[in-house]
């Protein structure tokens, strides 16, 4: 499987024969269908964000790459969270702009969160469509005034009979285009205020902007022009007296904050996995370059300024990978094995470590690789900049700002009262 780099032996991050078979099957699929097309996807979607790679999404659905940890009852694969993590890493390795990897990770993490906290009826309605690749289900938490301050969310959801009426605005949300274009539609795990101020007044909803192919009234979307990761749309939407049946409430009123925090923990693991996968691509591109490029009559990697930097970045990559699989295995212990000695909050630090470390490692590596390649990397003909701008969205702060990760680590270790 490893053609360019022979990765060192590892008795710590090990995989079962099943996990290895799964990884090799995902890799086969990705190298066959995704790798030949990722650049084209990025180019086409840059021209028009609505150039969504529909047939790739459909193929990925048929291959069972979405809703991996969800029950087979709902069209999922009945796998562990680690299996979803492995798949995300491999998809990103084939598509280092991470557009398809992010599509996949969102449609693994948030459907799983829906299954953990949502009702059976709602799961039965939405999850099979997401699994097939006909519907999108991501996260809608961020608002124009801020993302990190989840407790400060302003979107209101007022209960009127058996609907909730939504008024407000969400911004910087992935999937706004996909929800409009995919055959069934879809929506988001959305947080809105049903009660008092502060985190206790928030509730979570399976917010379907479009279902059975029909757009609902009162949902007004806009699409943004991202600087990278074009294959996945980003946008915002206004809710103007948008009506959602009350059955789509996830869990209980007032518990939304807690549910979404658990959801973020899960999603951040696969986010970090995507950046580790993209970073693997970058490492191999670097080694390919080192083995062929000469200057001043010697191999470029004979300059220790270059080879030492490579060694440092490789070390960070391995560390990032450790954080990812340590977190995914812990998530399995908590959610799949339901180990009674553990609780969801135990994921906070391990996940924060993974999400903080992975994207920065990937982006730093991308920058160095571009410097090693030189002028060629500055032209659009070279694909490397796509693997720089895509993962950069996670350094900027998608799915959790980098500084918030540090707040979580410091707070949980030192004590909440000592960091105020």
């Amino acid at each position: 499987m490893d053609r360019i780099l022979e990765y060192p032996k590892d008795p710590i991050v090990t995989f079962s024969k099943e996990e290895e078979l799964w990884r090799s099957m995902v890799r086969e699929f990705c190298q066959k269908y995704i790798e030949p097309k990722w650049i084209e996807v990025d180019i086409e979607a840059e021209k028009d964000p609505m150039n969504i790679p529909m047939d790739l999404i459909k193929k990925m659905g048929q291959q069972g790459l979405f809703c991996i940890p969800c029950s087979e009852e709902y069209g999922g694969q009945g796998g562990t969270y680690t299996m979803a993590t492995i798949a995300t890493e491999e998809i990103a390795y084939a598509d280092p702009s991470v557009a398809l990897a992010v599509y996949a990770l969102l449609n693994n993490g948030w459907p799983y969160a829906l299954e953990l906290f949502g009702s059976h009826e709602v799961c039965q309605e939405i999850l099979p469509e997401v699994a097939k690749g006909s519907a999108f289900f991501g996260i809608a938490s961020t608002e124009p005034q801020g993302g990190s301050d989840v407790a400060g969310i302003r979107t209101k959801a007022e209960k009127k009979g058996d609907v909730y009426v939504f008024n407000g605005e969400k911004a910087y949300i992935s999937g706004v285009g996909e929800v409009q274009k995919l055959p069934w539609g879809g929506g988001w795990f959305l947080i809105a205020r049903t009660g008092e101020a502060g985190h206790k007044g928030l509730s979570a909803f399976a917010f379907l902007a479009r279902k059975n192919g029909e757009l609902k009234d009162g949902w007004i979307p806009t699409l943004y022009e991202d600087i990278g990761r074009h294959g996945l749309t980003t946008g915002g939407f206004i809710m103007d007296n948008f009506e959602l049946e009350s059955k789509y409430l996830i869990g209980e009123e007032g518990k939304g904050f807690y549910h979404v925090m658990e959801g973020f923990n899960l999603a951040r693991i696969v986010v970090a996995a995507a950046t580790v996968g993209a970073a693997r691509w970058l490492l191999e591109k670097a080694v390919e370059w080192f083995r062929s490029r000469k200057l001043f009559g010697r191999n470029i990697s004979s300059f220790q300024g270059v080879s030492f930097k490579f060694a440092e970045l490789y070390a960070r990559w391995e560390a990032a990978r450790y954080f990812v699989y340590r977190a995914s295995r812990l998530a399995d212990k908590i959610y799949v094995e339901k180990d009674p000695s553990l609780n969801p909050k135990d994921l906070n630090i391990p996940v924060a470590l993974a999400k903080n470390y992975g994207p920065e490692t990937c982006v730093d590596l991308a920058e160095e690789v571009m410097k090693w390649y030189g002028a060629y990397a500055y032209t659009k003909e070279a694909p490397i900049f796509r693997a720089w701008l895509g993962p950069f969205s996670y350094v900027i702060g998608a799915e959790g700002a980098q500084n918030i990760m540090k707040v979580i680590i410091a707070r949980d270790l030192i004590g909440k009262e000592f960091i105020k």
Binding site: E288, R291, S292, R293
Partner: protein, 317 residues
């Protein structure tokens, strides 16, 4: 019988050219007699009989068209009518199944993908392609050469590795009519367009995946013409894209031209194994890491759509 002495080598092939190559192999072993089996039309049998001391001819009118099981019974009947120590068979898609089956009928080992055959310490030693063509193995075939009557070791020799024999021999011919129960029906035979005679070509230009459109082969034809050669393709361009009936490579047609030029060929192991014996290998590829460069005498890193016209321009001067 003395160890190391071959009394009789029998050869089986459906083509005149390969038949003559197999006779050469027999000669290289210093066999006393070279006998042959030919299944086909009488006029071709008349053509091959002069290369062997005795030819056993089975007419396709009697036995019908090729089907491995029935043809293996026919070859077996010829083996039983004589006493070969070695049966040499064409190492082709048609020859190998027949050889495999005859080896079961005579209860002797069969070696395939063989490029070279020799005697050593009273036994047979072959050099064959192994590990999918990546490596070459030396293999001892069978324990002793001369233990039973009409019990030959069977060896399938790949075409193109031995010269076609010129020697004139006795040319006795016997027509056999073995009783063969036919179970497999040949419904239809679709001949592929005649390949360009790659086995004999001095110069071959091969198109690989880097060549984007079938029409682009025209540019390669022009280059081949200027070099005095022919154009072939790698496996995916033939088997998947159907740009040509067959391909250059270990599993297709292995070649050994004086000059091989791979254009947009990355250098998959099986392809390399099939061109390894070329005298001079030139490769054109945009990827500096393409595996073919390691196996090339001359490597040109660049866009073939620029390099090939440039080569044509320079050659025309």
């Amino acid at each position: 019988m003395r160890a190391g002495e071959i009394m009789e080598v029998m050869v089986y092939s459906e083509s005149v050219k390969t038949f003559r190559e197999l006779v050469s192999v027999g000669e290289s072993l210093n066999a006393d007699r070279v006998t042959g089996v030919f299944i086909g039309e009488e006029e071709n049998a008349e053509e091959v009989r002069k290369y062997c001391d005795k030819l056993f001819f089975i007419s396709s009118e009697d036995i019908g068209d090729y089907s491995p099981s029935e043809y293996s019974e026919a070859v077996y009947s010829a083996v039983k009518s004589s006493d070969p120590q070695i049966l040499l068979v064409e190492g082709t898609a048609k020859g190998v199944p027949v050889a495999s089956m005859v080896s079961v009928l005579v209860g002797e080992p069969c070696a395939t993908e063989v490029m070279e055959l020799s005697l050593s310490e009273g036994g047979l030693l072959v050099k064959r392609a192994d590990l999918g063509g990546v490596a070459i193995s030396e293999v001892k075939v069978g324990k002793k050469l001369f233990d039973k009557i009409a019990s030959p070791k069977v060896v399938c020799i790949k075409p193109g590795f031995y010269p076609a024999s010129d020697s004139e021999r006795k040319g006795e011919m016997v027509r056999l009519k073995p009783e063969v129960k036919r179970r497999t029906e040949v419904v239809e035979i679709k001949r592929k367009e005649r390949g360009e005679g790659f086995e004999d070509a001095d110069v071959i230009v091969v198109a690989g995946r880097g060549v984007k459109k079938k029409e682009d082969l025209g540019m390669l034809e022009e280059l081949a013409k200027l070099l005095g050669g022919v154009v072939g393709v790698t496996r995916p361009l033939s088997a998947d894209l159907h740009w040509a009936p067959t391909w250059i490579g270990m599993s297709g047609i292995p070649v050994k031209p004086k000059l091989y030029v791979g254009v947009g060929v990355s250098g998959q192991i099986q392809h390399i194994a099939g061109i390894r014996n070329s005298k001079v290998i030139v490769a054109v590829n945009i990827d500096p890491n393409a595996p073919i460069f390691e196996h090339a005498d001359y490597g040109i890193i660049g866009d073939l759509y620029q390099v090939v016209p440039k080569l044509i321009e320079i050659l025309k001067e």
